[in-house]
Symmetry: C2
Subunit: 302 residues, 2 copies
Amino acid sequence: MRLVTLLTVVSGILLSACATGNKPSPELTMSAVLEAASPEDWRRTDPNHTLYMALPGGTVIVELAPNFAPAHTKNILTLVDQRYFDGLAIVRSQENYVVQWGDPAEADKKRSLGQAKAKLDGEYFRSASGLDFSRLDTRDSYANEVGFVDGFPAGRDNANGRAWLAHCNAMLGAGRDVAADSGNGQELYVVIGHAPRHLDRNVTLVGRVIDGMQHLSTLPRGTGSLGFYETAAERTTILSIRREAQLADDKRKHLELLRTDTETFKQLIEARQHRLEEWFIDPAGHISLCNVPLPVRAIANP
Amino acid sequence: MRLVTLLTVVSGILLSACATGNKPSPELTMSAVLEAASPEDWRRTDPNHTLYMALPGGTVIVELAPNFAPAHTKNILTLVDQRYFDGLAIVRSQENYVVQWGDPAEADKKRSLGQAKAKLDGEYFRSASGLDFSRLDTRDSYANEVGFVDGFPAGRDNANGRAWLAHCNAMLGAGRDVAADSGNGQELYVVIGHAPRHLDRNVTLVGRVIDGMQHLSTLPRGTGSLGFYETAAERTTILSIRREAQLADDKRKHLELLRTDTETFKQLIEARQHRLEEWFIDPAGHISLCNVPLPVRAIANP
């Protein structure tokens, strides 16, 4: 028997089951949908595209998105394999926006990039063709269409055939300067607040934090401009970043993510729109892209 | 001369000015809009409806919303005037959701409510008539219409003539149990993550944090169900909550908020949709309700 622990806690004040409402109703609450899910509804991430960032406060686990940002993924893995990030630091923590890390001495004595590239063209969008895009039926403020691809929140524009990852909470991006090719993955940020969707297609998203968000989101805010720390003492040191594939089995967390291309995920969205839980008085009947939970669970005996 | 410090920092990675885009363009960046604003574009909050919550880490300042939640506002002020909250604690901190405070011993030895009411009918919405509703032109996932009233983000439904406050980041709500009348303001929460708009019209919103959000959002997350702390040692003690009107002048922060019923605020929204800053490659041309900044500044010599 596989013991599982659900890590992505449901955003609800109280959770219990009861019928309600005059809208087309789902049959299950989210908890019930997850309980009824089959093993095939869950997936493991690729251990070569899963990063463990060890901080003094705990480990942050990231799933990379090579399908959307192949060049940035490759460059980040090159940096990781060279242990580029080890000993660098969290340099920025801006309220309701992002936490960012990289080389705090970037301006004067930059750590060598080794085999990694210094400049990469932005991977701001890609062709929508060839993607298994599970469309979400919603009015989105920013995109004509939104949905999920391989477990990531995404936008799509059928007029120009483009698709892109969306800046929801926990998404990982590659910071850049003004030049469009100035990002390369050596400076990375994670969304810790409300989704800054105006950044979509302006900066390369390269993955998502799937565990340990609290180790980033609770860092003290920087008091400098844009939340940068003003002194070295305020920064948090990155102990290491490794591919999961490089870790001994007892150092791995054995996470599984709910697939987003399944009937179970559709039921979960229904359950979250129509809220059968007794606490709700006026279930929205709607949901927005970044409010859809992307459940993660840990398997004790994989 | 009045010295001002802009507290709500612009959410942008780099900020400089340059023309761009093929969409109808604004003439100014947000920084320029704020620089050009007249003194009349800014307002003080009512010191009797402005609360200062002193925590060991710093002070959180809240503007109450008596226009939407008159009974909850009154009850909270009664509790504040009785010093009900002093010595109570932050009892919950849930990642990407809410921080909540109240009586940690609520279940067994509840602190006396004194003159305050134990139960209040929910103030989940009110009549839209009589409100100066500045409509935001956007596709909103949750409401037919959204906009701003007295500086607060709000929704409106012209079909039933209702308006309500919206659960954007930093909004303050009155927690309740399953019964609709079980909230009374003794248990309060603040949104620290992505806007949980599914809570709109299900729980009474009673104000907004206008300063010091970082003192709530960086609190360690609780490890119990729904982010509740499991031990007393993990909780943060509330030193005091006071009306601003009760504080000596040198204890006040003298904040001003940008009015949301002005031409300047319209220009700010335009500037945030169309992003003239040089960094942007593909300005969204759109904005969502909870992405509109609500600028706050401190006046050194009021």
